[in-house]
Symmetry: D2
Amino acid sequence: MPLWNSRFRKPLAESALKFSSSIDVDRRFYNEDIDGSKAHVQMLVKQKVISAADGKAILSALEAIRRDIASGKLTMHWRDEDVHTFIEEQLVKRVGERGKRLHTGRSRNDQIALDERLFLRREIEAITALTRKLQIAFLRQAERHKKTIVPGYTHLQRAQPILFAHHLLAYVSMLQRDRERFADCLKRVNRSPLGAAAFAGTSLPISRTQVAKALKFDGLVENSIDAVSDRDGLIEFIAACAITMMHLSRFAEEMILWSSHEFHFAHIDDAYATGSSLMPQKKNPDIPELVRGKSGRVFGSLVGLLTVMKGLPLAYNRDMQEDKVHLLDAVDTTSSSLALMTELLAHTIFDSGRFHDELEGDLSLATDIAEYLVAKGMPFRKAHQAAGKVVSACIDKECLLHELSMKEFKAISPLFEEDVFELFRPLNSIKRKISEGSTAPREVEKQIRSWGKLLRAR
Amino acid sequence: MPLWNSRFRKPLAESALKFSSSIDVDRRFYNEDIDGSKAHVQMLVKQKVISAADGKAILSALEAIRRDIASGKLTMHWRDEDVHTFIEEQLVKRVGERGKRLHTGRSRNDQIALDERLFLRREIEAITALTRKLQIAFLRQAERHKKTIVPGYTHLQRAQPILFAHHLLAYVSMLQRDRERFADCLKRVNRSPLGAAAFAGTSLPISRTQVAKALKFDGLVENSIDAVSDRDGLIEFIAACAITMMHLSRFAEEMILWSSHEFHFAHIDDAYATGSSLMPQKKNPDIPELVRGKSGRVFGSLVGLLTVMKGLPLAYNRDMQEDKVHLLDAVDTTSSSLALMTELLAHTIFDSGRFHDELEGDLSLATDIAEYLVAKGMPFRKAHQAAGKVVSACIDKECLLHELSMKEFKAISPLFEEDVFELFRPLNSIKRKISEGSTAPREVEKQIRSWGKLLRAR
Amino acid sequence: MPLWNSRFRKPLAESALKFSSSIDVDRRFYNEDIDGSKAHVQMLVKQKVISAADGKAILSALEAIRRDIASGKLTMHWRDEDVHTFIEEQLVKRVGERGKRLHTGRSRNDQIALDERLFLRREIEAITALTRKLQIAFLRQAERHKKTIVPGYTHLQRAQPILFAHHLLAYVSMLQRDRERFADCLKRVNRSPLGAAAFAGTSLPISRTQVAKALKFDGLVENSIDAVSDRDGLIEFIAACAITMMHLSRFAEEMILWSSHEFHFAHIDDAYATGSSLMPQKKNPDIPELVRGKSGRVFGSLVGLLTVMKGLPLAYNRDMQEDKVHLLDAVDTTSSSLALMTELLAHTIFDSGRFHDELEGDLSLATDIAEYLVAKGMPFRKAHQAAGKVVSACIDKECLLHELSMKEFKAISPLFEEDVFELFRPLNSIKRKISEGSTAPREVEKQIRSWGKLLRAR
Amino acid sequence: MPLWNSRFRKPLAESALKFSSSIDVDRRFYNEDIDGSKAHVQMLVKQKVISAADGKAILSALEAIRRDIASGKLTMHWRDEDVHTFIEEQLVKRVGERGKRLHTGRSRNDQIALDERLFLRREIEAITALTRKLQIAFLRQAERHKKTIVPGYTHLQRAQPILFAHHLLAYVSMLQRDRERFADCLKRVNRSPLGAAAFAGTSLPISRTQVAKALKFDGLVENSIDAVSDRDGLIEFIAACAITMMHLSRFAEEMILWSSHEFHFAHIDDAYATGSSLMPQKKNPDIPELVRGKSGRVFGSLVGLLTVMKGLPLAYNRDMQEDKVHLLDAVDTTSSSLALMTELLAHTIFDSGRFHDELEGDLSLATDIAEYLVAKGMPFRKAHQAAGKVVSACIDKECLLHELSMKEFKAISPLFEEDVFELFRPLNSIKRKISEGSTAPREVEKQIRSWGKLLRAR
């Protein structure tokens, strides 16, 4: 029997109950719901709203319910409406009349807000830890590939040679911003809404601060109307997940490219690839493909929850029940994607010699020619044109840069001298870089060291 | 053991299998999968690719598998990878070697495309039927409220009096467009992709046309690459669902407004409302609130699937496995929302006398004044100003339109005569309308009759 | 001075006027607005609501206004509020009092709905024509590459050799569905809302049908409330654009891949690529990159307009003014993307010999081995495993398929005979295909012919 | 002539230039572009990459260009490609050869990243200030309505009486979170990407740190690949805008409700409302309607930019040019919506006596009855039922709470005593609240004071 039916003449229609039941989703909050109820009861006892004996009975019954759910002894059915109702009814079954005091000075409105914040707090911590693990996987590969030279790409065109470590470290930076974003979100999430009751507060002598402290919140969501009508933390969290998934989709795209026959740079372990039911030779990069696709899921959840909240008057509206499906999907998708990309990356072999020969004298060294001329005093815009002529000459002759003659260089600019040929070794190009954060070995080494300190510290 | 592991040295990692397993979702296609396999086998027999005896054994085993799944005797686990693998393995268990001939000339790429189209075809029919039922519910209320006068609103401001039936019929029109959209989508969905094999076709003598006919498709998705790389039908379907849900969200908003204390026009049946765990007097319009919120879910699915498909090279990519979660959620959300809104509407009592007194002499009759003056020859723009002056006079005097004196009317325009007072009965305003599709009783009656014919025909 | 201020005591605040002015956007409808006004006036004359003389004066003034706007003599400013107000005020300036009769029996609510439908009708036709042109560009390249063999990909892994024409024709099919979708949308768009007036119809003797005929509509949006509160056609249109853009993003992705150093299959004309301000050798595939990015814009517009409409009560609400920015952006983005992709494709050279040598004996012929064994009687699942063993042998020996000895084949299955070596020519693989819509030259030729007939017919 | 055409044989096609030109959008960054170029040049001088004389000439020419753009003397055309090219070309026109040294050690890739960060930094500050102004407008109304009693709503049903100030303060809290979110975003935005050059860094002796300091950044985006491929800050910003707009849409919805005939609680000033071109009596809440609708625009931009970035390989891709249209639209929409809602709110009169009579003995006081019984020792769940019976009695008798007799109360529970009638004054209900953050006058006063301190401090 629902908690609320005092004034109703008819039971809720079966179809309406099924449609409105949220227990298939909110069952996942049972631990948080029990944690919250325990803190609430302890406060009610302290505030003398209920007796110590009643409090004790309730507390131990709540723990027993928790155990029974965990062990599978107790199961929830859509008829149970929601996790709060289910647990309160179980409680009354076990401790009788005393259980009916549990809901004193609170409402399901502040209760679900509490459960969601407790849940989100824990998940933010878990996702942050998973993100850190992925950073470490990137860092390890970077350490392994400090000397691996690869073509860097812009527009998927070969642009300039870089150290592969440098490329991998870009992801470490991206993921670091993701972690900061989750941490910032947590500041706003980690505040207690409990005690807002339905939305107006209560005339019973509860202590919101006491509950907040017991549950290790940083403070209250003070305004009681705001406390029950706010879902900002969830949206902000899903937005942060969306950015993380976008980052993962970019790395996934690269893994897919690098695993192709044409790039053949990355060798995904057999344990992380699958084949075809028809084509016997296939080995497919399923994990990154799925991760790339799953970005859509989190983008969709973000739109979903923003749509739910658009144009809702205060305070609580039932539409807000539709927040959980989006929250949980974002949590699960982001967590599992992070975990799998970490495993995949750790088990991937990048062929360190793959591009070595191809980059000798490659046109992607043309920027070095321009900078060489600038160092000799030519304005950059003219140096760019001179280097462009060198490139054109190579295209016409179908040759590499070092296959042009000194005479041909001189014809383009008298500033060219014999030392120009030193530019055409990719490693030289890389070593000549000197700007902060560049692909120069010294700069990459510096980044590796500082990330190592940050990520491996405990 | 997966169907594809011929060349692999290592099994798929447990975590990777769990991450990539789609069976929790595609299990819902087991009927379609079996239907498709049966048609495929029958064709293989006819084409003499497999023997009649093998065919017979496979067919009866497939039916047995279907029964066992339906009865719950056979259950699927994420380790089973996907519904195709599960069924094929079951088949081999039951008929041995012969079962290994089932997958001849096809791939999971065309198989899943087939399953989805069969599933979608059925669901489009079901949703179309549900939409029709909701239209009928609107029509019934319209028949009941042919004479109920309500204020029509624009900008949520009272605009002009209308028949409530007229308002309800607007939804019948909206839902009719929804049905047309689903029907148009079906034309593109109802084509068979089977026989595209992986994407290039096959050298085995299959007949795609034969299978298409057996499964009652309108034809083939001819190009075999297109056949496996296309998910347009799903996106188009979800877009159509999004528009339907948008329509439902608008009616939901109105039900919520009309159920409020301030409007107190709609009385939702107790069987379709819930109360509050804290506030004993509450009766909340949960069903429309949930429907309004669920629009977000379908909008999110639409974004999700568009994101999945964005930028994918041909032909099949594993990202596309992420289509099903969005498809199924859109199907379930739209179906259940249509069904519940139909029940809700059928059980709602609209108070036919609610606005009767309030509209007598109401300022929302001002348009009639302007049209009255136009009929007497005044240009409309001037008539609008004159009527505006009448309104201003009422606001100043805090009176209703019929409470102004003839003298006051004459002061505004000499064209006013005694008959102006007839305008101030809302029913007169409605009856004076003559344009096609207007709120005039005759026009509303006409709409009711033609919808009745269309919707009640069999 | 606004058209509506009869009852207001204060002018609209400057900031509020600027915020609410829509003329920067709806100015693009001036032609449609004038077309609609002309049809409206002609009907008013015929219905004797206004005199023939007044009608004539209004009609010729409207044409003069159109000319002055087109020539730039008349310009609109945000202070003019919207295009309807601007034109009506211009009219009154030119024909005085008579101009004040124009707005008889209509409202801006039905007027904007009319303008949008007229505009959308024209744009749907234009986009359909652009889509057809892109289909023809694909067809032409397909005709050019009927014999070009390329690796077909799934999961971006080489899967089976195909004719490049076959791949290109997949896009012709996709675009054909796009055209059908636009045509279906047009059926619902091409109905006249005019005469709904504000939403309730009018007491003046207008003829909606007459106006609809004059403007070549297929009929009326009958219900007058629906007529002004509906924006379905716009959403459906933007959804269709989103699918088209998704298709273009897929082809764009492929153009980008094929233009890379690693694939070096497509050579984009210099006239459709740009370079780098820093790196002199760069030639970037900007057009496909921009098109791929612009898909986001249309997905965003779709979300934007669905959000606008979510939860709006009937009939008209000012939120709906926010429809136009999304509509226009979708029109412009889709049109220009179609046009540029057409030019790009027409100017791209695909290297027909690029993959010729690489595919000889390539592992992507493994499916042919399996089908070969099936043709000899082996169940497919076992044939798949046998072919998998062949692949494994090649991987171990780092050799191609034809480099295995007959003995090695026999060791895997005694069914292998000398003719197996014929499979390892990619052209043979392609020629052996026989299924409908497959990559077999005959099937591809058939597709080319039937598309030619359809697309080149006039 | 483009900056990059050194190696090209053909000019860019007219259509391609028009399609790819970004100047219609990035012209808005001209100030930032010039600021960045100035800092870059000053560093180049300090680093002796260019001479002091050249530097001086460039700096003063840049200032002259800025002035000429500001005054309208210089205008940009789509043929100018982008703002960077335009300004560099202007510079060369003015200072000749020397101007060609400007682009030394940088690329448009890091330059646009810099411009966007400078622009975003300024806009975040502006939006934060606008948000604060709106908070102050809410606070002022709260101060005015400290004693105004209104029904609080959940599910749009009257729930419990509250102080209107309490309701308004919920928005102050919501907006405070918005400000925090913008501030957190700024931390990540306020880092300099300049000096990343194309993405690999440079061999020229630039100092990134020096430029960062000159432009008042908090530090560098260290990794040069990350520096040019990252658009996180923009997405995070648009997500923050989306939440702000969602908040505004909620208040907009309430303003629309409250302005309706049925609620008639809020009186929007004539200067912030408009009328109807047809219906003379209309006064429409256009501003809140438009704001509500504009939420769709920002949600759409968020989807748009996430879609753009999905699946892009590192480092820069031309797709990313599509970031600006979304950024600028989010900036403009959010800024103007904040500003207009502030004006609107300041000019709205809320009728403080509106609900006074209606709430006396209203069923929304039922919670107080339940809490009264709890205070007398009854378990809450039973008290809820008893209060439910009271409500039912009133519904049956169609009376108010205080119209029941003592006898009737006693029949429901013997715990009821004469003092129960004191509950039925709404003010008593409010005063009895004691929980932190509740609607109790003391708590509301406390919130007003602390917000006053925070918001009015300088």
